[in-house]
């Protein structure tokens, strides 16, 4: 690996000992959970320094997941947009169809080390639920997935997949029946079943050490990109673009490049119907700092600190918060955070289908949508990597419903 210029003015990359990235993060949980979270942290610290843990993880990543995922030069997309040279990081080709499995494998190996017999998870679009059900089946552990009743209706194929894999899917009707409520109910389950249960959180949020741990397990995305682009182009990329709900695929891509000042880190939030309509999921652009689900971060909330519903066409981005490390990158100005609307994502979805023969997830389509705007403004020697975090098979019903008219032509 070549040496790169590092930004000496960059504050130290977190988290600190109390789980903070700047003022974001922390461990805002009930006393019942504190001892569990401290145990988990201890176990993770041990695992991090254990070559055997990584040997097992790497073997599974290679033979079970299919890593490394390709870095694909999107020739026709590049040509069409007429600017930056665009590469797609093909997480959509990985087992279970999205980047979520990277994190689930790491966490289930930890669960096994800790002697836990029961796995719980929350899921929005169902991709994290499917990945969790998959690794639970692989390791023979009981699996319970909490999913908002609204999401169950719009993501039926993933509900069936989870059940086939042996997981129990519990519909969450409390609150508004979406991802945040699924996370509440998963936390309530955990607080009840403290001895037996390991909670696999699906994104770079939650109480410390989850944001750090999930980031580390997802960072394989960025580490691979680094090697692959050096091989293909002999230098680092100029920009990285990824969609953000909680922010795990983006953090996985960004993290190995944070200290490389020349690399732009661009996170694309879901603007839903538009940020000014109030119907969106853009926590950084349309939210304020607050404390939810164990961490301080930007949240969609009222002035009185009540959490508001997010809206996005993509269930996986439909979350009123964002990982604390993103909040920090935003605050210190290292990350650029932008947004794409439902309509822009749908257009990007179609363009990728027609030009590249790839059906992207609606989540990933938000990243592509912003790249469509940005790439034409950049020179041809600008190297842009877009994280294609998942495949779009699960989104057929949603897309068909929205595009009914055009598809008839």
């Amino acid at each position: 690996m070549t040496t790169q210029t590092t930004n000496s003015s960059m504050p130290e990359i977190g988290p600190d000992a109390r789980g903070f990235f700047g003022r974001f993060g922390g461990r805002f949980v009930a006393e019942t959970l504190m001892p569990l979270i401290l145990d988990l942290q201890k176990e993770y610290e041990k695992a991090k320094n254990d070559p055997e843990f990584y040997a097992e993880l790497e073997a599974l990543q290679k033979d079970y997941v299919g890593r490394a995922s390709p870095l694909y030069f999107a020739e026709r997309l590049t040509e069409e947009l007429g600017g930056a040279k665009i590469f797609l990081k093909r997480e959509d080709l990985m087992h279970t169809g999205a980047h979520k499995i990277n994190n689930c494998l790491g966490q289930i190996l930890l669960a096994k080390r800790m002697g836990k017999k029961r796995i719980i998870a929350e899921t929005g679009a169902g991709m994290h639920g499917v990945a969790t059900a998959t690794v639970a089946a692989r390791f023979g552990l009981e699996c319970v997935v909490y999913m908002g009743s609204t999401d169950i209706d719009r993501q039926q194929p993933n509900v069936h997949r989870m059940k086939l894999l042996g997981a129990k899917v519990i519909p969450v009707t409390s609150g508004t029946g979406t991802l945040k409520d699924a996370m509440n109910d998963a936390l309530r389950d955990w607080v009840t079943n403290v001895d037996s249960t390991f909670y696999i959180i699906g994104t770079v949020a939650g109480p410390h050490p989850y944001p750090e741990m999930v980031r580390d397990f997802q960072s394989i995305i960025g580490r691979e990109v680094r090697e692959q682009i050096m091989e293909k182009e002999g230098r680092l990329p100029d920009s990285l673009v990824a969609c953000i709900g909680g922010g795990s695929n983006a953090m996985g891509l960004f993290h190995p490049f944070i200290k490389d000042e020349s690399v732009r880190l661009i996170g694309v939030e879901a603007a839903g119907y538009g940020i000014d309509t109030g119907k969106h999921a853009a926590s950084l652009k349309g939210g304020t700092p607050g404390v939810l689900h164990g961490n301080r971060t930007f949240l969609l909330q009222s002035e009185d600190g009540q959490i508001q519903d997010a809206h996005s066409i993509s269930a996986g981005l439909d979350y009123p918060g964002i990982g604390p490390e993103h909040a920090w990158l935003h605050e210190v100005g290292r990350g650029e955070y932008v947004s794409a609307t439902d309509d822009e994502a749908l257009e990007a979805f179609q363009m990728t289908c027609r030009l590249e023969g790839i059906i992207p997830a609606l989540e990933s389509s938000h990243a592509i949508a912003y790249a469509i705007k940005l790439a034409p403004t950049l020179p041809k020697d600008h190297l842009m990597v877009i994280n294609l975090s998942g495949r779009g098979d699960k989104d057929m019903a949603t897309v068909t419903a929205h595009l009914a008219d055009q598809l008839e032509d």
Binding site: R18, G26, R27, F28, V29, A30, E31, T32, L33, M34, P35, L36, S174, G175, K180, D181, N184, L187, R188, V191, T192, N193, V194, T288, P289, G290, V291, L292, H293, G294, R296, L299, Q301, E303, D304, G305, Q306, I307
Partner: protein, 279 residues
């Protein structure tokens, strides 16, 4: 109590005075919980006054939050009813002021989650809470690791910070939990959410006496206590018994708001009688 001196507010040490009285009477206290503004502001105020007039020794008033992660179905629903009816932090503090016009003695503890306090601003919140007549705070998602956020500032305003200890709080962790706790310690007798099934009194008694080896602070026991019979059993050894979900159920099950207030008053009276006769 810690050595920090109150700088403002009208907390007159109600909590410690109340527990001293209870000790003198050789009985456990009754701590009652309702969500502020459930099902609406006016009824909620009536319910609060009913608690004070029906024998509650300490009142916990819930600050409604959209995402009460440590609460079971009953208190979740009560929070949402209150929020739907327009409850907010200003109205909750106003309820405390209204109560204080009628009742200067019963300690009032605000209970809830950190976010609404954080959004209001910790200093603004504490100054207004102290002025309104709030005596203590229970904030579920602020473990001792985050004492600098609210616990230490609260004590500077003369407001007690009441910490939860749970069955997962082991002997190694307990001193840390006790360190900045003042007023009383709330022992959550079961792992799980509010309203979950209660564990056996024998088990809880053993756990409470283990905590007593570490502290002289009064210990209130809660989670899963619904009936006068259960309260009586716990009141034999605990310094106070906390009842919440059973009272919020009174609101949910009431045919009319006024009937809910009557049901709360009746249950509070029978619970108060039970704890008074326990020893």
């Amino acid at each position: 109590m810690t050595s920090t001196t109150p700088i403002q507010g009208n907390n007159q040490g109600r909590i410690s005075r109340r527990f001293a009285e209870l000790k003198q009477q050789n009985r456990a206290g009754l701590v009652t919980f309702i969500s502020a503004g459930d099902p609406d502001y006016d009824t909620g105020l009536n319910n609060l006054i009913a608690l004070s007039e029906s024998g509650a020794d300490v009142i916990e008033l819930g600050m409604p939050f959209t995402d009460p992660m440590a609460d079971g179905a009953s208190i979740q629903k009560s929070s949402l009813r209150a929020l739907t009816a327009g409850q907010n932090m200003q109205k909750t503090l106003q309820m405390v002021r209204e109560l204080r016009k009628k009742d200067q003695d019963t300690p009032l503890v605000l209970m809830g989650y950190y976010n609404p306090i954080y959004c209001m601003g910790v200093d603004t919140f504490l100054a207004q809470a102290a002025e309104a007549g709030v005596d203590g705070l229970i904030v579920v998602d602020l473990p001792p690791e985050h004492d600098d956020e609210l616990c230490v500032p609260a004590q500077k305003h003369g407001i007690n910070f009441i910490r939860l200890a749970t069955p997962t709080t082991d002997a190694k962790r307990l001193p840390m939990v006790l360190e900045n706790t003042s007023g009383f310690l709330y022992y959550v007798s079961s792992t799980g959410v509010t309203g979950a099934a209660a564990p056996t009194p024998e088990k809880v008694e053993g756990e409470v006496s283990a905590i007593r080896a570490h502290t002289d602070i009064p210990i209130a026991v809660g989670f899963g206590i619904r009936t006068p019979e259960q309260a009586e059993r716990i009141a034999k050894f605990a310094d106070a018994v906390v009842v919440g979900s059973a009272l919020t159920d009174c609101v949910e099950n009431a045919a009319t708001p006024a009937a809910g207030t009557d049901a709360i008053a009746e249950l509070t009276r029978s619970l108060a009688k039970a704890v008074r006769e326990a020893r």
